[in-house]
Symmetry: C2
Subunit: 346 residues, 2 copies
């Protein structure tokens, strides 16, 4: 067979990406090696890796940010890099203790833009009380990189990290806020429609002071946690059922979503379930405690937090390992994790 080229869908967060990463990266890494670290690594493919050192679990998350445009409604690439990296730690149940980054910038990039980006990164870190402890800075010649790419590394501590292989039958599925806002805003920019979404903003924000305390308080009842970025809510739920062979059923009527986001995406024929968020989390929790968790989330300011579905066990092999949605009119359909044609979303 002829050699294949990398496609945009291989980086889009959905099924094609997971298959590509499995084939070209994960399958090449010897299992016995990554088990020499006392913790969790590529075997769980979670938001971050975990290393046990003494009595401490160190959690480390890493992501490269290539978002286009670099300044968007509600944020910029620097805020996104810090928030996204910290949120991965939060979703592992870890308290961020330090941040590192690399900035790769194009020759000719205006230093005033660099200053705005760095100052907004530092602003978030200062507000969250997290030190920037190191990094790297590279310049590529004009034409060899489009503006700037930032890589964020978050270092956190957890008494007991949340590893997503653990979802259980009957778990309630909670989202902490309205979905699809970041994806909708980036799509509007890329289509030149940013003036038509006046009241719409990316939800980019760190969850360190809202969702993290709730996760810490209810940790023993939370079986999985994820921030639904690339691939959106559909991709997150799909990863969970694939790992567990259970089924998740969600109710579209219960999923928080702003009207402006819904109308904008409807007009384009795009399902909000496939669109990225950068300031919310999805949790799979003990059903008995789900209402308490939602109440606590609303108390800390996540006023749209809601139970949107649950984990079930089905016998029908066609529905096992799937995500099912109850539609607005009460029918049931299988949700597919689709790659929306939206490069450089994060």
């Amino acid at each position: 067979m002829a050699s294949m080229d990398v496609k945009l869908s291989h980086g889009a967060g959905a099924k094609e990406m997971w298959e590509f990463i499995q084939k070209y990266i994960v399958s090449k890494v010897p299992r016995n090696l990554w088990k020499t670290v006392n913790g969790y690594g590529l075997d769980v493919l979670d938001d971050g890796a975990v290393i046990k050192i003494g009595d401490n679990y160190i959690v480390i998350s890493i992501d490269s940010y290539t978002v286009n445009p670099i300044f968007f409604k509600g944020g910029n690439i620097g805020e996104l890099a810090v928030s996204g990296t910290l949120n991965d730690l939060v979703m592992m149940g870890a308290k961020p203790i330090a941040f590192m980054d690399t900035i790769v910038v194009e020759e000719g990039f205006p230093t005033k833009d660099l200053e705005i980006i760095i100052e907004s990164m530092v602003k978030i870190l200062r507000e969250e009380g997290i030190p920037l402890i190191g990094g790297d800075f590279k310049v590529m010649p004009k034409g060899s990189i489009d503006r700037v790419v930032i890589t964020g590394v978050g270092i956190g501590l957890a008494s007991k990290p949340i590893i997503d292989v653990m979802i259980n039958e009957n778990d309630a599925i909670i989202v902490t806020g309205p979905i699809a806002e970041h994806g909708a805003v980036i799509m509007a920019h890329q289509l030149g429609m940013e003036n038509e979404i006046k009241d719409l903003q990316s939800d980019t924000k760190p969850l360190t002071r809202t969702v993290l305390p709730v996760i810490e308080k209810f940790k023993e009842y939370i079986h999985a946690a994820r921030d639904p970025t690339r691939g959106g809510l559909a991709a997150t739920l799909y990863e969970w059922v694939l790992k567990s062979d259970l089924t998740i059923i969600i109710d579209r009527n219960k999923i928080p979503i702003r009207d402006s986001v819904r109308y904008f995406l409807d007009a384009l024929g795009i399902d909000p379930l496939n669109m990225a968020s950068e300031g919310i989390g999805v949790l799979a929790v003990e059903p008995s405690i789900a209402d308490d968790i939602v109440e606590e989330l609303r108390k800390v300011g996540e006023t749209h937090a809601a139970i949107i579905g649950r984990v079930i066990k089905v016998n029908n092999p066609l529905l096992r390992g799937k995500v099912i949605a109850i539609t607005e009119v009460g029918g049931k359909v299988i949700v597919e994790p689709r790659s929306v044609n939206l490069p450089r979303i994060c």
Copy 2:
């Protein structure tokens, strides 16, 4: 004053880069914040950051690799990313325990090239017994990134990390191998002269099994350690004297360098002191033990290891905080850390 644009020299590893990073990044980070971490961060600007957790020092290094070409004589961008990242840990006196990466690739990049790169990364990690515990994979549309950029993160443990603020008067300066090989090879490729350097290869390699055991054995006598990458030996020594206000005097006749590298760079009028290496270390050590360290380095296979100079205290303010070289004919000149016009060297 009009806003400035980022220049290639701002990423080239020498004086312009340090001034740029100081002005646009380090100065913006509040000092009180990074001191909340028990360890060392941007205050030391060393090869990596250090976090003390319990009785353990966790050392974390991060670098983005933008090398052009991505396949070069003696290595490729993947081998470079792993070796360079691990060597930063070695130079902090830390034993690598895990590796993470992000790969940002251009749409249309051949998967066979991606496989070669990933397999050579995994090969080194397997040989060194270091697990790849996590990462990120992004695809950018054609034209928005030239081929591939890889970010490496190394996680290591040290009983007592080597922080480079510690060089002392009379310290001996040791290099563990011949200098300037990586820089010379990349320059040859970029000038289309790679066929004229038949016997020349990049020195890209991990120092985990050669230099690290020696550093561990003699740790209490080693005051500073650095791998002289961007900016070469001159930039490394210059950073040390700037931090200490001492002076370093080196003897050009004692610096190991292959004839092929010397001839190639001489023909171009380039000083090998300004050219990057990717498989050697520079150490500042107690003078009484310097010969023993060199002997041990030669025993483990670093047969060109040599004492090349020493740290002195001078009264002349023009020579304080400078690097002085004894020339081939016995004269003395001040070495300047020059940015060679060589983008994407690592």
